[in-house]
C-alpha cells in the first residue's frame, strides 16, 4: 500500500562480515527505523508522514549473494530505498547495481582512496568514511606533534592486516611517516585470521620503537591488546584500527584502555552525540562504536532529511544529498563531491570515553595523552 515507505537492505548476518555488520551497521539501521517510526514515520515534502517497512536479507558475506539480494530488492520487491551493506568490498560490488537501478548509495562503511573516481563512475554514490591516506596522515600528525615535543622517539613499529583495508592504510602511512622524518623500524603485514600475536609483538617490542601502530581488524586489535598486556609491552603510543573504538574495547583491555589510540573517534562532549549514545544503548542494549556507527546513523539522518525535502524520487534525492546540508549526530554535514571529508581520523580512550583527537583543530577535539599510561 502506498502509505508505507519500503526500505530494504542486505547486510551480512552470517559469515565473515557478520561481526562488523553486527556492530556497526545493523544496530543503526534498526535504531533509526525504530526512532523514525516511533515519531510517526518518515516526513514527506507535503508534510505527511509514512511509516517505514523494512525488507531485509542476509548476504551471507558473499558478494554473489549480495548482488542477487540487491537485485531482488530493486526488481522484485521494488523497495523505495536501499541501504548499503557493510564493508568496502561489498559496497563496491553493489555500486553498479545501485547505479543501474538509480538508487542513491550512501556508502558509509567503506574506506577507499578511490572515492573521487567512484563518484565520477557512479553518479549517485556517496562515500562517507574517507580513505586510507586520510587516516594515515591524521595519525602522522599526532605522532609528529609528540615527537617534536620530545615525548616519543623517532621510531615506529607498524603492522597491518593483509587485506584491502590494511594495505590501503599502510601504503598511505609509509610515505607520510617518511616525509615526517620517522624511522619505520618494523613494518610487517599479517594474514587475516591470525590469532596469535606473541611473535609479532615481541619483535615490535624488541625494535625499540616508542610508537606501535596496527592497521588491524577487531580480532587483531583485541588479540594484540591482550598480548601486549601479558608480555608487558608498553609503547608510548599504542594505536589500533577497527575494533579499537568498539564499546567492548575497555572490557577487552581489562579496564586499562586509557591512552590507547585508534582509528576514528567522536566528539564525546557534543550533546547530540551523547544523546545518540544513550539512545543506542537503551534501544540496542549496548553503546555504538565510536567511529563508523555515528556516521552510519548520520547518513540515515541525511537520508531522512533529504526525503523530507524532496520526497522519494531517486534523482531528486541524490541531488539533494549531494548539495544539501544536514543536521546530524555528528553535526552539520555537507558533502564535498559526494564525499564526507569532515571526519575524525584519530581518537583515544580518555577517562572511559573514546574521544577524537585529530584533526586537532576541528572543534571538539581533545588533546592527546602521550605517553600512554602503562597497562
Amino acid at each position: 500500500e502506498g502509505d508505507k515507505v519500503r526500505i530494504g537492505y542486505a547486510v551480512a548476518r552470517t559469515g565473515a562480515n557478520a561481526t562488523g555488520a553486527g556492530i556497526t551497521t545493523i544496530p543503526n539501521y534498526e535504531l533509526w527505523v525504530k526512532t523514525v517510526n516511533a515519531a510517526g514515520g518518515l516526513k514527506m515534502p507535503d508534510g505527511s508522514q509514512r511509516m517505514i517497512e523494512v525488507v531485509e536479507y542476509d548476504n551471507r558475506s558473499s558478494n554473489e549473494d549480495l548482488v542477487r539480494s540487491i537485485e531482488r530488492l530493486a526488481s522484485q520487491d521494488k523497495v523505495d530505498l536501499i541501504l548499503p551493506p557493510w564493508g568496502t568490498g561489498p559496497n563496491l560490488a553493489v555500486a553498479p547495481l545501485f547505479d543501474r537501478f538509480g538508487y542513491p548509495q550512501l556508502a558509509v562503511t567503506a574506506v577507499t582512496d578511490k572515492a573521487p573516481d567512484f563518484v565520477k563512475r557512479w553518479k549517485r554514490s556517496f562515500w562517507l568514511l574517507g580513505g586510507g591516506h586520510d587516516y594515515a596522515e591524521g595519525l602522522v600528525d599526532v605522532l609528529k606533534a609528540a615527537r617534536d615535543a620530545g615525548t616519543i622517539n623517532n621510531k615506529i613499529a607498524a603492522v597491518s592486516v593483509a587485506d584491502g583495508f590494511g594495505i590501503d592504510l599502510i601504503s598511505g602511512a609509509r610515505p607520510a611517516f617518511k616525509q615526517a622524518g620517522f624511522d619505520l623500524v618494523y613494518d610487517k603485514s599479517y594474514p587475516l585470521g591470525t590469532s596469535d600475536f606473541s611473535a609479532i609483538l615481541s619483535e615490535a617490542k624488541a625494535s625499540g620503537a616508542d610508537s606501535f601502530v596496527a592497521f588491524s581488524y577487531p580480532p587483531g586489535s583485541f588479540g594484540m591488546t591482550k598480548t601486549a598486556q601479558s608480555m608487558g609491552f608498553n609503547p608510548k603510543v599504542f594505536y589500533l584500527s577497527v575494533g579499537g573504538a568498539f564499546p567492548i574495547y575497555p572490557g577487552i583491555a581489562d579496564g586499562k584502555a586509557e591512552g590507547v589510540m585508534a582509528i576514528g573517534g567522536v566528539n564525546a562532549d557534543s550533546p547530540a552525540m551523547q544523546e545518540y549514545f544513550a539512545r543506542h544503548t537503551k534501544e540496542i542494549g549496548n553503546p555504538p562504536d565510536s567511529w563508523a556507527s555515528a556516521i552510519t546513523y548520520a547518513s540515515l539522518q541525511m537520508l531522512e532529511q533529504a526525503v523530507a525535502r524532496v520526497g522519494l524520487d531517486h534523482e531528486a534525492l541524490a541531488n539533494e544529498l549531494s548539495t544539501g546540508s544536514f543536521d546530524t549526530v555528528i553535526g552539520t554535514v555537507k558533502l564535498e563531491d559526494n564525499q564526507l571529508r569532515d571526519l575524525w581520523w584519530v581518537g583515544q580512550w580518555q577517562g572511559g570515553a573514546f574521544r577524537a583527537i585529530d584533526p586537532a583543530d576541528k572543534p571538539g577535539a581533545s588533546a592527546p595523552i602521550i605517553p600512554k599510561p602503562a597497562w
Binding site: 548476518r13 552470517t14 559469515g15 565473515a16 557478520a18 561481526t19 555488520a21 553486527g22 556492530i23 603492522v159 593483509a162 610487517k188 603485514s189 599479517y190 594474514p191 585470521g193 591470525t194 590469532s195 596469535d196 606473541s198 611473535a199 609479532i200 615481541s202 619483535e203 624488541a206 577487531p218 580480532p219 583485541f222 588479540g223 591482550k226 598480548t227 598486556q229 601479558s230 608480555m231 608487558g232 575494533g243 568498539f246 567492548i248 572490557g251 577487552i252 581489562d254
Partner: protein
Amino acid sequence: MLVTTLILGLVLGGTYALLALGLTLQYGISRIMNLAYGEFTLVSAFALVALFKGAGVPPLLAIVLIAPLGYAVGWILYAVMMRPLVARAGDAGRLDVASILATFGLMFLIQGGLLVTFGADFTSITYLDQGVNVLGVPVALNRLIAFAICVVAGGGLVLALGRTRWGLALRAVAQTPGSAPLVGIDVNRVARQGFALGTALAAIAGASIAMHQTFSATDGVVFTMKALVIVIMGGVGNVAGTLIAGLALGLVETFVATAIDPGLTLAATFAIFLVVLLWRPQGLFGRR
C-alpha cells in the same frame, strides 16, 4: 631470540594441538567426519563466558563443569544422530559422505543458534592474562594453562591408547570395526565413547580458547579446518601425531613470523602441511 621463538611457538602449538585432539578421536575412532567440530568448541567458549560473566564462575572451575557436559552432549548426539548413519552406511567411504552431509547441517544449526543467542559480536574475557616468565620469555598465563591442559590431556590419551586394554579396544575399532565384535568389543559403545570423549575435548579446547582469545559466533569453520589440518598432518586417529603436528605448526608459524614475515604465517602453515602430505601421504604417523 631463538629461545623466545621456541617458547612462543610451543605454547601456540599447544593450543593448536589441544584444539585438534577431540577431532582426531571423533574421526579416528568413531569415523565421524565432524564438520560441526568448531561449532562444538564455540558453544563451549560461549558457555564459559556466560558462566564467568553471568554467574561469576571462575573459568578454571567452569572447564571442570563444561567438560563432562561436553561428554554427555557428545554421547547423546552420537546415539541420536550418528549411530543411525553408521548403521546404514556399510563402508567407510559412504559413512564419510553421510557424516559430512549431516554435520554440515549440524554446523548451520549450531551457528544459527549461537547467532540468535549471542549475536555476531566479538566476545572475550580477561582472565589470568598476566605474563609469566618462562626462561626469560613473558607468556600469558592463560595460554600456558591451555598448553598444560594439552600436555596432560594429550599425554594421557597417548598413554591410555597405547598402553591400556581400553586403548587397544579403541584402536581396534578405529582400524577395523568389522572385526571388533569377533573379540567381544561392542563397536557401537566404543564409537560412542570416542565421539563423546572427542566432544568433551572439543569443549575443553573451546573453554581454553575463550580464556585467551577473542572469538565470535562465526569462527567455527576456522577452528574446524585448523583442527582438520592438524589431524590429517599427524595421521588420522594417531594422538601422538596430532600433538606433534600441532606443536610443529605452532613452531613453524612463530618461526616464520619472527624470521621471515608474519604475512606468510598461514601460507607457511599450509605449505608445511602440503609438504608433509607429499612426503608421507598418510600423515606423519598414519598407517596405510
